[in-house]
């Protein structure tokens, strides 16, 4: 029964020393340790949250970039199409212009040919008339001398004319 008899001295010293240890540890050990632990946990928590936020921002940024890229691509396509259209139009216009010019030149040529032809015809007509007049003149002159010779002359002249 000795081990369960209360001893005043033990209880007294245990109370004093334990409370002293509790006070000293609470003040100089547990407080800084618990504060440091909580601070570190908070900082880790914050870091994680910030990383999450950064990830989200990054995603937003990436999405923005992609949109920008798609826009740029679209614009490029449009510009290319427009360029093609303009080129086509230019070619078409050049073609029509050229045709018109060719037609105009041909028309001009035709007109000048017609003119030349008319001129030539007029000249021929004039020459024929002159010749006829000449022949007639000579005939008239010969008839006066000899009718047989006249006939012969006419024939001759006619031959000449044919030759011409």
């Amino acid at each position: 029964m000795e081990i369960v008899t209360p001893k005043l001295g033990l209880i007294f010293w245990q109370l004093v020393i334990f409370l002293l240890v509790l006070f000293l540890l609470a003040k100089f050990a547990w407080k800084p340790i618990l504060v440091a632990l909580r601070d570190r946990e908070d900082s880790i928590d914050n870091a994680l949250r910030m990383a999450e936020q950064a990830k989200l921002e990054m995603q937003n940024l990436k999405a923005g970039n992609e949109k920008l890229l798609a826009d740029a691509r679209h614009e490029r396509d449009q510009m290319l199409k427009e360029g093609q259209n303009i080129a086509n139009q230019l070619v078409e216009k050049a073609k029509t212009d050229a045709t018109e010019e060719a037609n105009r030149i041909a028309q001009q040529a035709r007109e000048s040919i017609q003119q030349e032809k008319n001129q030539a015809l007029a000249e021929v007509r004039n020459t024929a008339a002159q010749l006829s007049v000449d022949i007639a003149e000579r005939l008239l002159r010969r008839e006066l001398a000899d009718p047989a010779a006249q006939q012969k002359l006419v024939d001759e002249y006619l031959k000449d004319v044919k030759l011409n």
Partner: protein, 372 residues
Amino acid sequence: MKRLLTLLFCLCTFAGFAAEPTEGGEKEEAFNPGEMILHHIGDSHEWHWFSTDNNEFTSYLPIIAYRPGKGLSVFSSKHLIKGAEETENPAATAKTTEESEGPVYEGLRLHHEELVATDGSPVYDFSITKNIAALLGSSLLMLVLFRYIASNYAKNQGRAPKGIQSFFEPIIVFIRDEIAKKSIGPKYERYMPYLLTLFFFVWFNNLLGLTPGAANLTGNVNITFTLAIITLAVTLFSSNKNYWGHIFNTPGVPKLLLPIMIPVEVIGIFVKPFSLMVRLFANITAGHIVILSFISLIFIFRSPAVAPVSLAFGLFINVLELLVAILQAYIFTLLTAMYIGGAVEEHHHDEEHSLDLRTGHADSVIPSPTAH
């Protein structure tokens, strides 16, 4: 107070070896295992480290006795131990009245490790006994160790723990998250210093008690009694209206039963710390007794052949005691946290009801008859 403690600590002198009292002839003293075991788990006024054939290696601790009327007497326990003084102070031994009793000094002598006055007047023994010396030692160890760990936290602020700091950090975090937060709730922070000190005090002293030659501190009922009293005081001082409401007007209990319920609940207040006291004391004492009993078998059978069996069982129990050391520290701390948690709980049932209404669990709305 601190200066006084250091002064007292200086008083306990390591006296080295003193001549063993030569027993008359080769008379074989019958081996009494019960006495040996009780001596080992009990407290004493000197710190007996070990003995060789001729010498005993003992530290004599200071005796501090208060006697009403005579005041305080402080002297080394060397004067009261039989045989310790024989060569130095023959005058003291001359006063020895009986052979079985120790020497008398300043009117005091030790009777079965108990300080008594020769004239029968009451003596209040505030001696630095073996247990108190061990208590001072372990307290100093805790102060130095945790102050060092705290300084480590200041040094690597915001960085991963290093060295001994990383060994204790998971334990501290476990006590905070698994014991304090879960058992006490949102007000846990106020009680963290007490719970941490309690846990490490019990654990360290359990382990130190297992080392050879050390004092059996946590296996001493006075120590566990004091711890339980502090827990009771903390519980009562932090109790709120809700706690007392549960004791004097337990919700959900018919009024007719109250004359029975109130005494039961009031006894419950004291039974809780009492169970704490007995649990720790009995566990640690039992472990020591079992180990010592196995060792005693060798001497009871007087045969070295028993030694391997005794040692094997002794070793097994010793390793088991290492587990019990931390387990009992955990249980003591957890139960303390639960008792405090019960005292600071706020409107437990109202919260439960509203919670149940919100989640729609109608079956769990039935109030529990008692809080614990």
